[in-house]
Structures are given as structure tokens and as C-alpha cells.
């Protein structure tokens, strides 16, 4: 198992794992509306499938806020 962090919280995952699969694993409510930074760099949405996450990676899941939408807790 590898250690990564998502929104500052440690997670253990089997790597390599694609960003798409990591989103599923984190049960993100609206996967097509989350913005993702991997080690400080934004990942284009159309590259979520092919971008692999490895041991020690840090990810930020950013959500739209301010418009009445269902967003998961960014600290969850």
C-alpha cells in the first residue's frame, strides 16, 4: 500500500492508480465537476484517465462553491 494525501489528509491506496479511479475511491459526489491538482499542478479533466498517482503524491480536490450545488465536504 502507498501513502498519498488528498486535501491534506493521508490516504492509503494501491498505486499506481489513475485519477479517475481515485475519484471513484473517494466517492466524490459530482466527479465531472471536481478540479484536481497533483503535486501543485492542475490536471486537465481529459487526462484524469491517463494520469497515474504514485506513492507520496499530494492531491487537492477543489469544488465549486457558491451556487446551490451539492458539493462533498472538501475536508472529508
Amino acid at each position: 500500500m502507498s501513502k498519498i494525501s488528498v486535501n491534506g489528509k493521508a490516504q492509503e491506496v494501491v498505486t499506481p492508480i489513475s485519477i479517475t479511479d481515485l475519484i471513484k475511491l473517494n466517492d466524490v459526489a459530482q466527479p465531472d465537476m471536481v478540479s484536481i491538482q497533483l503535486n501543485g499542478e492542475f490536471v486537465n479533466r481529459d487526462e484524469f484517465d491517463i494520469t497515474q498517482v504514485s506513492d507520496g503524491d499530494e492531491l487537492d480536490f477543489l469544488y465549486f462553491m457558491g451556487g446551490g450545488q451539492e458539493t462533498p465536504n472538501p475536508f472529508g
Binding site: G40, G66, G68
Partner: protein, 273 residues
């Protein structure tokens, strides 16, 4: 700028601050700030900027005060129901501080008027609650090279970033607005009233920091908080080369009025949160 004795008394708590002083207060008093939205975020922003003595405050909002606004839009009081929000806001701003020149725009910000309205201001503050206009503010400010503060709240969460030319803009983080169908009707989500104060006041502080040059702005950073846990988190970001408006191959070169959410404009305006 010569301050009167009353003004020195009024602003004494700013003047006492080594980082601000008389010079800093002069900068604030010469400042021109546009607040988009006189609602949940616009209210604390306007109140604190009025108190601080920002010389010119522009405020744009097409709505009238609704009873449901009073739960959090602390610049509007019960007798103001049905009054245009910009009028209600102007009255309170000048009651707090007659020094402030308030310019009201009782209209919506659109692709037609945005460039004209923002051009005379030093700084723009996003106090809106819908994505189409958040993207419009971003694009207008990036294209006009105008610094601005983005803010958004929902339920118990808030997030904000500050843009200056060259730093990460809203589109660097969020490429384009969510499709209208993806957003439930505005009146369903709800928001804990005090959250508006938490986030709006942070935005007001950013304005004052910009005007005085004190401290580090929230540039290339997204400050996000969850009031349930009181966790505050700063995400480091940076200018995104693929950004459609400020990247190296921009696809957004003009202003766009995106479609509003599923609820039509009228019910959106009535139930705006």
C-alpha cells in the same frame, strides 16, 4: 490628503497600526472598490469597507430586499424589505461613514456593461452567488488587468482567492461553469448565515491589504474553510498555462453571459441565497 480631527479620531485604530499609519489610511481613503452583489457576501464587505473609509464604493445588484435575505445580509434591515438592495446598502454605508462616496448600480452585471462599470475601480469584489456571473467577473477582470477577490459560500463552507494580473485566476482552477442542469435550484441548498460574515470579512481584509500594500494577498492560494469543523485550509495554486482566459492559448477573449441555473432568472432573483 489632510484629515480633519474627526477623521483622525475615526480612523485612529488604523493610524495606530505601524503597518498602516496615516499614509495607509490615505491610501484607503483614496481607494475605489466595486462590490458585485449586495447580498450575503456584499453586506459584510460593504460594512467593513465603509467603516474603514474606502473613498469610493461602487455597489451593483439588480435585486430588492427580500424577507429571506435578512437571515444573513446584515446590511439590510426589516424596514428595507422591497427596497432596492443598492439603495438600502448605500443608506447604511453613509450612516456608518459619511466620508464614503457610494455609487449604486441597480442592474445586473452583464457582458454588455461589465467592462464599462469596472474600469474606474482599483479593485473588484465578487459577492455573487451564481457561477455565470462569477466567471464573468473573472474574465472581465483578467481582460482588464483588474485585481479582484473571488468568493463563494455554501451551507457551512466558504472559499476565496485574490487575483492580481499574473496570478492564478478563477478559471485557472475551474475551467468553465458547471452546466445549468447540474445545479439544483438555488433556494434548496441553504447557507448558515454567519458563514457569509466569515468569508465576506476575509474578502474585505484582502481589499484593505491591497489598498495599503500590507501583508501577503491570497494570490496563488485558495483559502477554503468548513465551519462545522472550523478547519481552514490553504491550497497552493498557480497560474495555469492551459487556462482558457489567462493561459498561453486563450479561448476566452471576450465576455460571455452563461445560462443561469434551471430556475429561471425571476425565481433565481427572488430566491437568491
Amino acid at each position: 490628503m489632510d484629515f480633519t480631527e474627526d477623521q483622525i479620531q475615526r480612523y485612529s485604530r488604523h493610524i495606530l497600526l505601524q503597518d498602516v499609519g496615516v499614509e495607509g489610511q490615505e491610501k484607503i481613503s483614496n481607494g475605489k472598490v466595486l462590490i458585485v452583489g449586495a447580498g450575503g457576501l456584499g453586506a459584510p464587505i460593504a460594512l467593513y469597507l465603509a467603516a474603514a473609509g474606502v473613498g469610493t464604493i461602487g455597489i451593483i445588484d439588480g435585486d430588492v430586499v427580500d424577507l429571506s435575505n435578512l437571515q444573513r445580509q446584515v446590511i439590510h434591515f426589516t424596514p428595507d424589505v422591497d427596497k432596492p438592495k443598492v439603495i438600502s446598502a448605500k443608506e447604511k454605508i453613509n450612516l456608518i461613514n459619511p466620508d464614503v462616496n457610494v455609487i449604486t448600480y441597480h442592474e445586473l452585471l452583464t457582458s454588455e456593461n461589465a467592462e464599462r462599470i469596472i474600469k474606474d475601480y482599483d479593485f473588484v469584489v465578487d459577492g455573487t452567488d451564481n457561477f455565470p456571473v462569477k466567471f464573468l467577473i473573472n474574465d472581465a477582470c483578467v481582460i482588464a488587468k483588474k485585481p479582484f477577490s473571488h468568493g463563494g459560500i455554501l451551507r457551512f463552507d466558504g472559499q476565496t482567492l485574490t487575483y492580481v494580473p499574473g496570478s492564478a485566476c478563477y478559471r485557472c482552477l475551474f475551467h468553465s461553469p458547471p452546466p445549468p442542469n447540474a445545479v439544483p435550484t438555488c433556494s434548496q441548498a441553504g447557507v448558515l448565515g454567519a458563514i457569509a460574515g466569515m468569508l465576506g470579512t476575509i474578502q474585505a481584509a484582502e481589499v484593505l491589504k491591497y489598498l495599503t500594500g500590507v501583508g501577503d494577498l491570497l494570490t496563488n492560494r485558495l483559502l477554503t474553510f468548513n465551519a462545522k469543523t472550523m478547519e481552514f485550509r490553504t491550497v497552493k495554486t498557480k497560474h495555469n498555462d492551459n487556462c482558457p482566459v489567462c493561459g498561453s492559448h486563450p479561448t476566452v477573449t471576450g465576455l460571455v453571459d452563461y445560462e443561469q441555473a434551471v430556475c429561471d432568472i425571476e425565481s433565481h432573483r427572488k430566491n437568491k441565497h
